[in-house]
Subunit: 269 residues, 2 copies
DNA sequence: TTGCTCCTCACGTCACGTGAGGTGGC
DNA sequence: TTGCTCCTCACGTCACGTGAGGTGGC
């Protein structure tokens, strides 16, 4: 039968049939060599239906083609189905998380006006860092650790390969006796460890991240926003938070142009 | 700052930044007219993060662009979020159904070997049909109704515009006293209704469909396969089933080449 | 002869990624 | 001078859909 009738029988558009011919997924039973007219045979409906059914399970046409090869063992077929199953479950998870994020934003919009900070999930890359950790009496004193770290690196003539980071180890917020570590990526440079200076590898992490522009005066609203977002979006905190000083005093710019990224390692709940 | 540094700060690939420039989503603060070098300003990180956050909710870049326009009222924004929410829920539903279908196929593969019939969900189009309904003593007598219908249409010189269909109204399977209706699409042709012959409109339906090639001798396995599929895939039956005689005796072909499609109207459970 | 069906290009979709080939700036 | 960074094309992705322009068959 001609393509038009085959299309009606199968309820598949002609364009689609021509495309399946082109990619070799479903060749017509014969093609007139002069006119190019495609002739399908009725029992090709069976193969076409198999194609549609597999496509319906979410396989790509390339995968469908592989699954229709005779050389495929039932074992391999089972493997592909299992893989597909896992992929769908994965996708459902992320759609679920996405839905939670949309709902969080709707809720936020009901309460106040515009969101002031934007939170984004990122995957960080593993890096080698030099670190100094200590407990300082208050936040203002964090700069002492900065001086210590950069002083020592300067003596060793090691240049950082990225912006400095502060890691806050306290479980809950505290004004005094803050347990903090200052780290800076050093790449492949050789660094001499000391009593205070350590070198360690930071693994890749999934983090909820927020970028803040402005002077170092009041981080509380940003932290509030970030923690609320994590709550509402169905994540949970999976490690100590960190502040990345993307642009700070060393840039020579105005404090209004300082840029700080706040990250919390997170995991799906 | 130059594109490389901006890319590192934001963890967004340069290619992506150039693309956002190209589509006007995030233009660099300035571009050198001679070299074409892009210069970004640090506070553009805020806009970029908003873009990433909205993209993360599943919006297309075009939608993101609209959402970032100042002219957008909170009301419109809420509308877009609600719509997105509904879309995600919809998609979760269909992923759920897909997962059920994959699992059904896995189960089938465990039990016996290859699936003999392929089941596909289709949307049928609404059609106007001529119909004759009656209760016949057994399946073999269905041809009496065929003769009645085609005889009357022949007298009226009305040509069918599609293959004939039998609709089975019995709730459960029965061998005798079958309540069946023979229908045939008539398109826009004028048909004179009679005592037995009726004209009615069939609405669009969602059906689970199976195509069977072979003589009219034993439909039971096909029905079995179709009903099992519907069960396992999380659908339920939503109306009387129908058989569509895509290629039957009137083709003059051999019974082995008859093609019959079996449909059950279905709904999501 | 007139519709209707069929054909083959060619281009668009979406959000980039992957080179190729060439220049600017230290 | 040598790397490194930046630039602009051009093409590919996936599964078709949308024309344009032309022919075959009744």
């Amino acid at each position: 039968v001609k393509i038009g009738e085959f299309s009606k029988l199968s309820r598949v558009p002609e364009k689609t049939l021509r495309y399946y011919d082109e990619i070799g997924l479903l060749k017509p039973a014969q093609v007139d060599p002069f006119t190019g007219y495609r002739q399908y045979s009725v029992d090709q409906l069976v193969r076409l239906n198999t194609i549609l059914a597999l496509k319906d399970l979410g396989f790509s046409l390339e995968q469908v083609a592989r699954m229709l090869e005779d050389s495929l063992t039932p074992e391999q077929l089972r493997g592909m189905l299992r893989l597909r199953q896992a992929e769908i479950e994965q996708r459902m998870q992320s759609e679920q998380a996405r839905l939670a994020r949309v709902e969080a934003r709707l809720k936020q919009i009901e309460e106040d006006a515009m969101p002031e900070y934007e939170v984004v999930i990122k995957q960080t890359e593993p890096v080698r860092v030099a670190a100094v950790r200590g407990t300082v009496p208050n936040y203002g004193s964090v700069s002492l650790l900065f001086n210590e770290l950069f002083g020592e690196l300067g003596r060793q003539r090691v240049a950082p390969v990225g912006p400095p980071v502060a890691v806050y180890y306290d479980e809950d917020y505290r004004e005094r006796d803050v347990d903090v570590e200052i780290i800076v990526p050093v790449g492949t440079a050789r660094v001499q460890e000391g009593d205070r200076l350590k070198v360690r590898d930071i693994p890749a992490l999934e983090v909820a991240s927020l970028v803040r522009v402005g002077p170092y005066d009041n981080f509380t609203p940003a932290y509030q926003a970030l923690m609320t977002w994590i709550q509402e979006s169905g994540y949970c905190i999976a490690g100590p938070n960190r502040e990345i000083y993307l642009r700070g005093p060393e840039s020579g710019g105005k404090p209004e142009e300082y840029i700080t990224e706040i990250q919390f390692p997170v995991a799906r709940k």
